[in-house]
């Protein structure tokens, strides 16, 4: 089928996006609308003694100033655990926590009014050390139930001694999703007393399920429509301005728009959990794993968000895609007064991956093996078991992937080495033309990384999607309309849904309707799950339509498809699709079939490091990923490129710097994300070993490259410098200012 699955079909929204016509949530505009603004706490921890909104209300142009006392319904919300107040109630638990909201006739007026609210804080000591929060019984509790959000052990086997033992302590900094389109949306009060909310989000129904109770409204009176989404990467899983804008709209009877600026965005969404990890790997002298012990400590910050699931991922995937019979893991997620952390691409698995891959390199060195060989010797394959006891029951050809990766040609021309009289091209040196040397200290390094990520929601979650497919005659052609609530956040789901409908129904003209809550839940655009689950739902609805069409056409063999549709009317079917059920992890042993699908990606990084300046230039990233079935080659490559870039960013530059609970760098000047000069050319090999349990055999693809690129880059920098580098991002001072330890 032309433009069906397997083809590089262009994005249906591509022309709108290049012509400037695509309406992002920040572009929405209605006659007479007001602008909302948020007053946020300057303190990581404080009591609110009193608040005076009078000065704000007195300002001309201000229509409403609301605090927690004005929340019409439930005063708390949350993705997994409803512990987060809509607006702070007598207490703030992190810097940036929303305290009051304002609606005014101009955004500047709204911001000035918010600043005019007088809040009397009694500053309290902030809990900022996650280790203390987890293990020190004298540590103050951030929430009444204590600071431990989840402790998930994994216990397998009893042999914790081996010929070769390597240990390490690793740290992952707090990464930000840094989508480019800040949080924004428009709330419009409706005649039925409800609200219509146009918002950039990852899951309309989970927003609805949190917003409606807070507004004291039944869900059907809180209707959400997806506005244009400027990237997500996990940061739009939690609510930001949804309840606030709706409260202001309901109070004022006017449409209210809220748009965060970049600085506010850093405080307006959760980040990737920073992690502190202790690992011990034991192996035979020839490098076969005997045991892994690990303690993984994840700082969830002030509210729960998705910490429960992040801990589950870190625990269940904490040894990586390696066969090992004895495992002792303790994964912890804790509350602190640091910024709340939750979903970011690859969550839980990313942090553990950096640590276990660092360990595999140490083990390789201890056993005198190459990084590739140690991984191949221990690689899982179909039929292996995870540390949770779960059988890997679809292809997992890790050894073959590594072999293919290692056989890819290496880039030539080390920029700084072997210079002739002309000197190196400064643009190719770490730091580019801005750096101060002639490349004398440039060393090249090569590193490998391997990652395994669970695809779809795990641990017993009822994970499903809903699709409505309708075929009708439009002019003299059949036309198919696909309707789901699935969020297109840039990943290309809107393209894939249409491709599936074309393939299943053999009809070229397919439109994907805007996503809204007028159809059943699609689940979240996260966990690399939408091609699988919403793709599965679209396929199921198409199959149902096809069956009915088949019966109609059999009854009217003399008619064409269009004539049948004209005579019998449109055919519409709605279907839900669920993946295989998953099960909770045993709270004591961690055992259980907690995941439905697992995906592998492997990276090789080549870097040049200026060891004197501490600057790194990634020369090339190569990757091999098994996606089961390629639905859209061009879009898939884009996902792997983008995921790899975010992993590179975590390895080398991206960190929200937090001191005593305060964010030091909430801007794109100080929070660095890779530019095109930081991102090297990529070499990709994409494998298609189908998963028999998934639609078309596909395997979710968005997250795995974000896992493996980070340890690959870190390993390459280690290979170039000989340093331990137990922390990402690797900062220039970690390389250049190491006291007298350079080999």
């Amino acid at each position: 089928m032309p433009s069906g699955i397997g083809e590089s079909v262009p994005r249906p929204d591509g022309n709108l996006k290049v012509s400037g016509e695509f309406a992002y949530s920040s572009d929405l505009w209605l006659e007479g609308m007001l602008w909302g603004a948020t007053l946020r706490s300057p303190h990581p921890s404080a009591w609110i003694r009193s608040m005076d909104v009078g000065p704000a209300l007195a300002m001309p142009g201000v229509f409403a100033v609301l605090t927690h006392e004005d929340v019409p319904g439930e005063r708390f919300y949350g993705l997994e655990h409803r512990d987060q107040p809509v607006l702070a109630i007598d207490q703030v638990r992190y810097q940036g926590e929303p305290v009051a909201i304002v609606a005014a006739d101009h955004p500047e007026t709204a911001r000035r009014a918010a600043a005019a609210i007088v809040v009397d804080y009694e500053v309290r000591p902030a809990v900022t050390d996650p280790r203390r929060a987890a293990f020190d019984l004298s540590c103050p509790a951030v929430h009444p139930g204590g600071n431990l959000v989840r402790h998930q052990p994994v216990r397998v086997g009893s042999t914790f001694a081996a010929e070769v033992v390597v240990t390490g302590e690793y740290e992952v900094g707090m990464q930000d999703q840094a989508f480019l389109g800040p949080e924004s949306g428009l709330a419009v009060p409706a005649e039925d007393g409800g609200v219509d909310l146009f918002v950039a989000t990852q899951w309309l129904h989970v927003d609805q399920g949190q917003v409606a109770p807070c507004l004291g409204l039944p869900p059907e009176k809180v209707r959400l429509t997806l506005a244009g989404v400027g990237g997500a990467f996990g940061a739009r899983e939690d609510l930001s301005m949804q309840v606030h804008a709706s409260m202001l709209a309901l109070r004022t009877g006017r449409p209210v728009k809220m748009v965060y600026g970049r600085e506010e965005s850093f405080f307006g969404h959760v980040h990737r959990h920073p992690a502190r990890m202790r690992y011990e790997h034991g192996a035979t002298a020839d490098g076969r794993l005997v045991y892994v012990r690990a303690e993984i400590l994840l700082d969830g910050g002030a509210y729960c968000s998705s910490t429960l699931a992040v801990v589950g991922n870190a625990a269940s995937l904490g040894v990586g895609p390696y066969e090992v019979d004895n495992v002792w893991i303790d994964a912890y997620g804790v509350y602190t007064n640091n910024p709340p952390c939750g979903a970011m691409r690859g969550f839980g698995a990313v942090q553990a991956c950096y640590a276990y891959e660092s360990q595999m390199d140490r083990l390789a060195a201890a056993c005198g093996l190459s990084p590739v060989e140690i991984r191949v010797r221990n690689a899982v394959s179909q039929g292996s078991r995870l540390a949770t006891g779960q059988l890997i029951d679809s292809p997992a050809p890790l050894a073959e992937m590594l072999t293919e990766l290692a056989a890819m040609p290496l880039p030539t021309d080390p920029a700084g080495a072997g210079m002739d009289g002309a000197g190196p091209d400064l643009r190719l040196l770490p730091g580019g033309v801005a750096q101060a040397t002639r490349g004398e200290g440039v060393r090249r390094g090569v590193g490998y990384g391997v990652g395994i990520k669970n695809i779809c929601f795990s641990e017993g979650f009822d994970d499903y999607s809903t699709a409505r497919v309708r075929i009708e005659a439009a002019g003299d052609e059949p036309h198919v309309l696909v309707r789901t609530a699935a969020a297109e956040v840039g990943q290309g789901l809107v393209t894939v849904q249409a491709q599936i409908a074309r393939t299943e129904l053999g009809v070229e003209r397919v439109t994907v309707a805007p996503a809204d809550t007028g159809v059943g839940s699609a689940g979240s655009s996260s966990a690399s799950r939408q091609s699988y689950v919403t793709g599965g739902a679209v396929r199921a609805a198409c199959v149902a339509v096809r069956e009915r069409l088949g019966a109609l056409r059999a009854a009217h063999p003399e008619l064409s498809l269009v004539e049948v549709l004209e005579r019998c009317g449109p055919v519409e079917e709605t279907r839900e699709f669920r993946h295989r059920p998953t099960f909770p992890m045993d709270p004591v042993t961690g055992q259980g079939n907690s995941h439905t699908q697992l995906a592998l990606c492997v990276h090789r990084a080549v870097v040049d490091v200026d060891v004197d300046l501490g600057l790194v230039r990634v020369v090339e990233l190569a990757a091999v990923q098994d996606v089961g079935k390629i639905l859209n080659p061009l879009a898939l490559e884009g996902q792997i490129h983008g995921g790899s870039a975010q992993g590179l960013g975590l390895a080398l530059m991206e960190e929200i710097q937090v001191r005593e609970g305060r964010v030091l760098n909430p801007s794109f000047t100080d929070y660095l994300i890779p530019t095109i000069l930081d991102m090297p050319p990529m070499r990709l090999s994409i494998l298609e070993n189908p998963d028999p349990h998934a639609p078309y055999g596909l395997r979710g693809a968005g997250e795995p490259p974000t896992l493996s690129s980070t340890p690959a880059v870190a390993a390459a920098v280690r290979a170039a410098t000989g340093l331990d580098l137990p922390r990402v991002p690797i900062r220039p001072e970690d390389i250049a200012l190491v006291p007298a330890s350079r080999p």
Partner: protein, 173 residues
Amino acid sequence: MNETHHRVTLTVNGVVREATVPGRRLLSDCLRHDLGLTGTHVGCEHGVCGACTVLLDGEPVRSCLTFAVTVDGQEITTVEGLAQGGALSPVQRAFTECHALQCGFCTPGFLCTVTAFLRDNPAPSEEEALEAVAGNLCRCTGYQNILKAVHRAAEIQAAEIQAAELQAEEGGA
């Protein structure tokens, strides 16, 4: 707050537009709010991300770092003005064709930057193309396809110029 407002006249995408703005009104806000041209996006508000890039008398500028009053009387091209006679420009076509965008929020800034770049350097080398867009951030694509799109746009542009020249020759003959 009483503040002086200024009347500015801008030629935006070939159309003369007027707005009355305070002196501190950013060009990005003027375009988006006063003139309703929301194709210009604001990603960082301080000149780092490049999403707000527009062409000022043909040269790329950060509209979030430009006061509207300072460009009174000048010509501005935004993403909405890149299409020519209803047809997408070579740069716009190359970005869709090469899948050089995902969420697309950064795209208008890239398009304006690349449009000016290829006008001045119609056949760039790899290094020149990289440097040309090094001031624009994209969070989705890892830049691989953006680089391809720059070269593809150069190809499309060259082919169009050649076709136009051929047509002119034929017309002349």
